[in-house]
């Protein structure tokens, strides 16, 4: 721009980067309000409904927390891959495979005892989701394919596979033609904590997050991820088996999404059905990037974006605003935060 000079900052922006984030979110909400106005909806009232719907009642908070679990786990996995600079866009499909894997045993052998059923469901989900992540990583390292496209295509394949299972071999004969498996036996269900409405899935998510945090902070592998993400050639030179690292991390990334799929099938729906696919895997990417791949911020951002989903549901009910409004906000927030990142690395001065 004429008369302006862009200079790289010498020191990090510090607390003011929070300000940038807030301005970016405010900007996207304002744009979203403009879009509501176009459809003749009062934006102030709508934003109120959205916020109250998400966080203004016990039910809203419970629902937001419930929806935050799959987003959080998928995002944790996605962030792991992103840290290695591997673009895993496939959390959606890995989540689907996790749900399919987890549903196999309760459909095929519903009479197994709980102590066998639940652990094997988790194992199946982790292996299926992990493989769905490892395959594109293998192609990337051995055939130099672009992992963005392969992971994305595998999302579409996974969703079709899930549809095939519930419309075909796993369809419950007693479902009156609806595409769904039979309800899982109680032994296959991750229940609620005590008398609360919160699922034990919340505890799963917390424990997994701690494990991942310890793993990335204190183990050699975590260090290797950091080096591999910063500089591939340096990592190879230092003797890090980069190919195996990428495939292993992608397996882990997919496994976390797969675990999310297991929880959703077991705890939330108690069966496998097409509605299990709710774009959590894509929201997870937005979350990971907003949280700058930090596990704690990922938890916060997951809860907020889950809240956005819940809020948009009440917006849909009360004001007939299409649910796609949530997608618009997600996209806008990501775009403006991305643009706002400029101010954390550069400053603009007069020439």
């Amino acid at each position: 721009m004429p008369g302006m000079r862009i200079i790289k900052r010498q020191e990090p922006l510090g607390w003011r980067s929070c300000l940038v984030l807030l301005v970016a979110i405010g900007f996207s909400l304002a744009l979203g309000g403009g879009l509501l106005l176009v459809r003749g909806v009062d934006p102030v009232a709508a934003m109120g409904t959205l916020f109250v719907g998400a966080f203004g009642s016990r039910y809203g908070i419970e629902d937001s927390a419930l929806k935050a679990i799959p987003i959080f786990l998928c995002s944790l996995g996605v962030a792991l891959a992103f840290r290695l600079r591997v673009w895993n866009i496939g959390a959606e499909g890995q989540y689907a495979l996790g749900a399919i894997g987890a549903s196999w045993l309760p459909v095929a052998m519903p009479d197994l005892p709980a102590y066998l059923l639940l652990p094997s469901m988790i194992t199946m989900a982790v292996v299926a989701g992990g493989m769905w992540g490892a395959i594109p990583a293998f192609f990337r390292q051995k055939m130099r394919t672009n992992e963005i496209i392969v992971t994305l295509m595998m999302n579409y394949i996974a969703i079709s596979l899930l549809d095939y299972m519930v419309y075909g071999p796993w369809k419950d004969p007693a479902s009156y033609g609806f595409p769904m498996t039979a309800t899982f036996p109680p032994a296959a269900v991750v229940g609620k904590i005590g008398t609360t409405a919160y699922s034990w899935g919340l505890v799963h998510a917390f424990v997994l997050a701690v494990l991942i945090w310890v793993f990335t902070t204190y183990t050699r592998l975590g260090y290797e991820i950091k080096v591999g993400g910063a500089n591939v050639r340096a990592a190879r030179y230092a003797g890090i088996p980069y190919d195996r690292l990428v495939i292993g991390v992608m397996f882990l990334s997919g496994a976390l999404a797969g675990w999310a799929g297991f929880l959703e099938a077991s705890s939330t729906l108690n069966r496998l059905q097409p509605s299990i696919m709710a774009n959590y895997g894509y929201t997870a990417i937005v979350v990971a990037w907003l949280a700058r791949l930090n596990p704690f911020y990922i938890a916060v951002a997951s809860f907020l974006l889950a809240g956005l989903r819940v809020g948009v549901e009440s917006l849909q009910l009360d004001m007939q605003v299409p649910a796609a409004f949530g997608l618009i906000i997600e996209g806008l927030v990501l775009l403006s935060v991305l643009a706002g990142g400029f101010f954390t690395t550069y400053r603009v001065t007069r020439r």
Binding site: Y156, S160, A324, L327, L334, L338, A339, F342
Partner: protein, 306 residues
């Protein structure tokens, strides 16, 4: 296979390959300037909706077609603002554009679901349309298909013969050297993004104005992503994009025919075909040594002048 089945199938191949061809060519122009735009899917669907709504309200398909292209430019310009003005990450910005675009199209398109708008109807080209077999396959389509026959050549001429195209490619290969040679590299990246966005928007418009004359949510169904993959398959060359696009058009046409014929293969398995093929094609075209034609500076950020 019976020739009476084969010829309509090949004609359908051309038809379903056309939107992918428009989008692939758009992405080729953009990537040749060094910018990766993963927003194709979102840009296409916004183009599709814009075209549909303009056609429905004005009754003028041509106006609708260009409006769709303009909408594509606008969406692509958002990507440009984020990655060129604010130096944001191109991969993430593209994903955000896709999410944003799908959201916009569903948000504004919901009231139009199931409605029909006037669009482009097929007509036989004089003389060419009467050639046996070939005429039926290639020359009895709508005008947008005929435009798509000329487009790869036009883009090839633009990229390889004109000075502007040369500068655009230089920006994609070696922006620092290009800047030292006095080329306004940021301006050329803008050009690549905007021209590409126009083609993507037109590809979307083909879906709503010619392929179907109806509006449905998720009309693009992953075609934008297939286009991104086809750029790699084409080795960033417009002439090769034609083969890729028709390959996918073919598999989609076969899938639709099989579904319509009441085959015993479940439709959900048939739906996997184009996506599985994309992976296969990608593995096939990446698995070779030597240059693929990928612009050397693809996806890089141009640092501002200090």
């Amino acid at each position: 296979m019976d020739i009476a089945i084969l010829i309509p199938l090949l004609a359908a191949t051309v038809q379903s390959g056309t939107p992918i061809l428009y989008a692939t060519l758009g992405e080729i122009i953009t990537e040749r300037s060094g910018v990766l735009n993963l927003g194709v899917e979102g840009i296409m669907i916004v183009g599709a909706l814009t075209g549909f709504v303009v056609s429905l309200t004005t009754g003028n398909p041509w106006l609708a077609f260009f409006a769709a292209g303009a909408a594509g430019c606008l969406m692509a310009a958002v990507h440009g603002v984020v990655v060129l003005l604010f130096l944001g990450n191109q991969v993430v910005s593209g994903l955000a554009i896709t999410i944003f675009g799908l959201g916009l199209a569903n948000y504004f398109g919901t009231p139009f679901v199931g409605q029909a708008a006037p669009g482009f109807d097929p007509f036989a080209l004089p003389i060419l349309g009467n050639i046996p077999a070939l005429g039926e396959i290639f020359f009895r389509h709508d005008v947008l298909v005929y435009i798509s026959y000329l487009l790869p050549l036009a883009i090839w001429l633009f990229l390889y013969v004109t000075r502007i195209g040369l500068n655009l490619r230089a920006t994609g290969e070696a922006p620092v050297a290009a800047r030292a040679a006095g080329i306004g590299v940021v301006a050329y990246r803008w050009l690549g993004i905007i021209m590409g966005g126009f083609c993507m928007g037109c590809g979307g418009a083909y879906l709503s104005l010619a392929y179907t004359h109806l509006w449905t949510n998720n009309l693009t169904g992953g075609r934008g992503w297939i286009a991104v993959a086809l750029v790699i398959f084409s080795f960033w060359r417009p002439q090769r994009a034609v083969f890729g696009a028709y390959l996918f058009g073919g598999i989609m046409a076969v899938q639709l025919r099989l579904q319509a014929s009441g085959t015993t293969i479940p439709s959900s398995l048939l739906l996997m075909l184009p996506y599985t093929l994309t992976i296969a094609v990608l593995v096939f075209s990446s698995w070779r040594r030597g240059s693929t034609g990928e612009p050397a500076a693809l996806g890089t950020t141009i640092e501002p002048r200090q």
